[in-house]
């Protein structure tokens, strides 16, 4: 006799909890991670030579803490990671700054465009491993090889994007600046850079991803330390969990940089355009506790 309660036109509250969490950004990310680890575990059943998640986690724990020494002796992790990070940042800096300058040149002068545009396009099509080989041939097993590999692979992505952005600057704003006799440097800071910011970010994003790939390759071939070197070390030693562990470190790092650092910078740079978007990202970050 219990008449089914008439569905009120309300939000679907009862089943809401889990479902809402699952469809929230964090819930979705956690779910994706769980599914991924499950699939991985399954893969080890089919292919026994593939190290499982627990194996790899264990390896990373030892690599980071020094393992059985109970944290008294630090593992190799930080040393290698720091070496790679330094080289990467240095290379990225050179690649980014030169890309920015050349991009602005190509974008603002027809002569520079005629001279440089094709060169940059050729560089753009060069895969990172070519730079890894070439720089190793030029410099041998040194720190310059990975740094330059990063710089060379990052440079054209920044240059092309920035050039495009500069060409897209509204001539009306340029004319306004001319009419009010605004100095060149001031125009660069307040007109060129913000107008091109979106393109700079696109370029930087590509540069980071391509450069990070480049450094792994370069260190793999010519490193005596670093993430790439360490990955190869375990590979050569037939210790596949070491190999997989370092690959994961490599991936996690790039994802974090992209998600956290770049998104943050971007939100800040585009505050003027979309206030809501910033709020959303800030809320997200609060939830994650960053």
């Amino acid at each position: 006799m219990t008449a089914a309660p008439v569905a009120l036109p309300e939000a679907p509250a009862p089943q809401g909890g889990l479902r809402r969490w699952l469809s929230s950004p964090i819930g979705a990310q956690v779910t994706a991670a769980v599914v991924f680890i499950g699939a991985w575990q399954l893969l080890t059943v089919i292919a026994p030579r593939v190290p499982g998640p627990a194996d790899v986690a264990n390896f990373l724990f030892v690599e980071i803490t020094g393992g059985s020494h109970g944290g008294i002796v630090r593992g190799q992790f930080f040393e290698h990671f720091a070496v790679t990070l330094q080289r990467f940042l240095l290379g990225l800096f050179f690649g980014f700054v030169s890309g920015l300058l050349v991009g602005i040149l190509i974008g603002s002068s027809t002569l520079a465009r005629a001279l440089l545009n094709d060169t940059v396009l050729v560089l753009l099509t060069m895969p990172a491993f070519v730079w890894a080989f070439l720089t190793t041939m030029w410099f041998g097993i040194t720190w310059q090889a990975p740094v330059l590999t990063v710089a060379f692979s990052a440079f054209p992505f920044v240059a092309i994007n920035v050039a495009q952005g500069v060409r897209a600057i509204a001539p009306e704003l340029r004319n306004m600046s001319t009419a009010f006799e605004v100095g060149r440097w001031k125009q660069f800071r307040h007109l060129t850079v913000p107008a091109v910011a979106g393109y700079i970010f696109a370029g930087l994003r590509f540069a980071i991803i391509i450069g990070w790939n480049g450094i792994l390759l370069s260190e793999w071939f010519s490193g005596q330390a670093g993430v790439g070197f360490r990955t190869r070390y375990w590979f050569d030693a037939n210790r596949y969990r070491g190999f997989v562990g370092w690959v994961i470190v490599f991936i996690v790092f790039i994802v974090l940089v992209d998600r956290v650092l770049l998104n943050r910078l971007q939100a800040r740079a585009f505050r003027w355009r979309d206030q809501k978007e910033v709020d959303f990202i800030e809320i997200q970050e609060e939830q994650v506790g960053l």
Partner: protein, 250 residues
């Protein structure tokens, strides 16, 4: 008070299509403007009004002829109000005001004062995208006044605004102008507006030539509803109509 001398000025733009003729924006203009006068430049669309201001402000270069804009022997300092506001969308209103100045804190005081004058002191920290079109245009006007120019160029500053906002800004402009008394070149195709604001009206014909040069001797500030103003407006509108039967010889 600036001195503007335009001598046999011509400006042609390259043909828009491959085998078309070059576009004559300014056919041949000679003109002198000096002192604290408010000069309007009136004429139908495409007769070279904006081009003329762009040449005076150094944004465009003449094809032939010369222009000189001086103030007591040195190059005059310019302010420019454009047909659209032309604010940097990524900078706040205050930063937009400071963009055209070279002095830090002193500039901020001045900028604040002129923003006050156009009734926008509460928008300092807002981005242009958060203001209405009329408010953005007022920021553009405040910006041009705030550099305290010797010569103020205004290109149809009210043409995108509704009649009521335009009217109140016209009154504002008269106030600001009476208070600061600079040389103003004011482009419009609204003869009524020109009569209300100016001491002198230059009428341009299609093809970029001077068709008429009219002095207006009425005290400032003038109200649009003043019968004397209205009479003059009717008379000048009549003269203006004479231009149209004449074929455009561009």
């Amino acid at each position: 008070m600036a001195q503007v001398i335009i001598n046999r000025l011509k400006k042609t733009f390259p043909p828009p299509t491959k085998d078309g003729d070059p576009v004559v924006a300014i056919g041949d203009i000679s003109l002198e403007v000096e002192g604290n006068v408010f000069v309007s430049i009136v004429g139908p669309s495409g007769c070279g009004k904006s081009t003329l201001l762009n040449i005076l402000s150094g944004v465009e270069t003449p094809t032939s002829g010369t222009v000189s804009v001086t103030e007591g022997g040195r190059a005059a300092h310019l302010g420019y109000v454009f047909q659209d506001a032309r604010l940097l969308p990524w900078r706040t209103v205050m930063d937009n005001m400071l963009y055209v100045r070279d002095d830090g804190d002193a500039g901020e005081t001045k900028a604040t004062r002129y923003l006050d004058m156009v009734g926008l002191s509460h928008t300092h920290d807002m981005f242009p995208g958060q203001l209405s079109g009329g408010m953005q245009q007022r920021v553009g006007i405040a910006r041009a006044f705030s550099v305290e120019p010797d010569l103020l160029l205004m290109d149809e500053p009210f043409s995108h605004l509704d009649a009521i906002t335009a009217r109140s800004l016209r009154d504002h402009l008269q106030e600001l102008w009476s208070a600061t008394r600079k040389t103003v070149l004011f482009v419009t195709h609204d003869v009524v507006e020109a009569v209300q604001l100016s001491d002198r009206i230059i009428v341009l014909a299609p093809g970029g030539r001077i068709f008429d040069d009219i002095s207006i001797d009425l005290p400032h500030p003038r109200r649009a509803t003043d019968p004397k103003v209205a009479t003059l407006q009717a008379e000048i509108l009549g003269r203006f109509e004479e231009m149209h039967p004449a074929p455009a010889t561009a």
